[in-house]
Symmetry: none
Subunit: 211 residues, 4 copies
């Protein structure tokens, strides 16, 4: 019984923690890390500043938690996506589709995430992102393995899988940002078709038959 109460309390705390992170994410992605004060976050989340510090050691930690959370969510979703499909090509297509959906459904979160995974690699708050970066590298790793498998299974041309992984990911995010800039001009369905033409058309072996 005591346990149950503790569990309920824990759950309650988790919800509070999440609320803070959600509110902070909104503010950070709208205005940037330095343009958002702890007061701002406290106000938005309807907590006292002091309470924020009960959940997060400091501002940096809160930021890190958000980014980590995002990278986990995105990472696992993309990981799962890579498991779906009868062959490697379909898995990659699933990756592109689900990745696109996540991206387009979480544009604000995603912008923060991308600032960290791309830009941050060499700039802002270096060190904060070790973990985030490694998670991103894991995704690339998994992508890479799919390409390797595809090559082994004879449906992809024999090219360095790591390069293939980076290429595909790079194209996808480029087109998604283009969509972010101008959704009319760069609808993601078209981007998917273009990736087929530009990338897969060349990577798939000649006699591959799309299902």
């Amino acid at each position: 019984m005591k346990e149950k109460r503790t569990a309920r309390r824990q759950e309650y705390k988790d919800r509070q923690r999440q609320e803070i992170m959600d509110e902070a994410l909104e503010l950070f992605s709208a205005r940037g890390y330095h343009q958002v004060s702890m007061q701002d976050i406290a106000q938005s989340a309807e907590f006292a500043v002091g309470t924020l510090y009960k959940f997060f050691k400091n501002k940096e930690e809160l930021y890190r938690a958000i980014i980590l959370d995002l990278s986990e969510k995105f990472g696992s979703a993309l990981g799962q996506a890579l498991g779906q499909g009868v062959d490697e090509y379909e898995r990659l297509i699933s990756y592109l589709k689900i990745g696109g959906e996540i991206f387009m459904a979480n544009t604000q979160a995603v912008s923060l995430y991308f600032v960290e995974t791309r830009g941050a690699r060499f700039n802002l708050r270096a060190g904060l992102d070790e973990e985030v970066l490694s998670r991103y590298d894991q995704i690339l790793e998994r992508l890479s393995k799919v390409f390797a498998a595809g090559i082994k299974n004879g449906i992809f041309r024999s090219l360095d899988p790591d390069y293939l992984a980076r290429s595909l990911d790079s194209l996808a995010s480029t087109f998604l940002f283009a969509w972010l800039d101008d959704p009319q001009k760069y609808p993601y369905e078209k981007s998917l078709r273009m990736m087929d033409e530009i990338f897969f058309h060349n990577i798939l072996v000649a006699d591959y038959v799309k299902s």
Copy 2:
């Protein structure tokens, strides 16, 4: 004679201005805009703080000047690169080669610049970068035109040139950042070869003969 003196003084001032910008660039790209104080810059550049304000109205202006300077340098170098070569394929190769050289010779500068052209598009200091972004868009525009010309001249397959431009640029910078992370593993010559395999192999018409 008076003129000569004024000219010499101007030159001296320009050199000072450049020194400040160089030092600031180093600091900004190492630690990020907000983590660098004007005191820091002054100290590094061996000037008094007040002197910085003789050259730049405020910190933002100094930052902007640096970014603008970079975008001009890179923009014009890449623009020129695109003019070199007997056909469109060669022009793009020239673009990739010269772009790579600039990137690798100015890694710190390039990181700042890329944070602006990529990351900044959806977040930090929006407005500051209008000019930088438009310059980046110009480059894409020019790339795009080269593809269009190549298609017209029958050496490229008929695909949307805008997508082709974004794809190529995306691949190039992805591989360059990979090089930045691990130069041993991702030497740029290999990246160039990979782009040939992954991208051009598919884009060039079958009977194109490389010179």
Copy 3:
């Protein structure tokens, strides 16, 4: 009960606000606006600098609040004074007496206030004082009306009431400043007598009988 707490807290805040203003008034009137830093005020009031900014948006606002406060206090006291007495002469005497008392009890405050109402009219921080000046003009207006009434009632000679108002006010403050300079030499009782001789002796109609 919640209300009571809020009320008490509000009261506490008001007291703090007043403390800051009192301390700042002391410093401003002793050394002048620009010679007093926010640090100085914080130190004197035994608060942290940040706390000052909880109560006043910035230094200017703090200054303005002080001046406005003074002008309200003085204005209403003088206004009330003008309501006391059976006829217009007595009202003016009440004005002079109460005005003198306020002045002598708040010399430091008064000096700041006068710098604003006199000096400020043509120079410093124009615009800040709109409100203060209009309040001063209101007092002159009311004085003027008392003179007009006295003329109508036949106890004052028929002279321009506006000039009379300005004259009386001018004499009173001149003598009060003389007192400030040398209280021994210019006791205010003597000044009151002198104003009777120099001013009222001439303004009152011949057959007026002082009560």
Copy 4:
């Protein structure tokens, strides 16, 4: 001959000094002491900043020099005015007329001067003005003596001459500032007439015959 050259040089320097002071006066009275930088003055006067420091030890000194200069000019003009007229009444009228003329011809200068002689007595840059104040006191002293003489000569009622002096001066400046505020409403000729009515009508003995 050497002397002549020295004299000429001295004259030249004096002229430069005066130019600086003129320009500074303009700026100070337009914007106030703290809102004018030495750079501003140097630019307006078309000298280098360093040159200003050849003539004045520091900013404060320059300001002091200007005020002193004004107080000398005004003081001597008023002093002279007090010497003109066949009797004491006429001398005072001359004082009022010439004082008014100076005031109205030098409004910008006069505002600075008045801030110093009136307000400054208890506020801004106390200590700076010792000399200015003593000069102002001298004028009051001389005015006072004129009243004393008038009393002795039987043309003024026997009242404390010091109070009379302060009263007259107070009325005059009050009306002049009223004119500054609204020249249409408070033309100085009317003010002179009012001073006759309000002040002299009462001070002059009954059988005094105006010439």
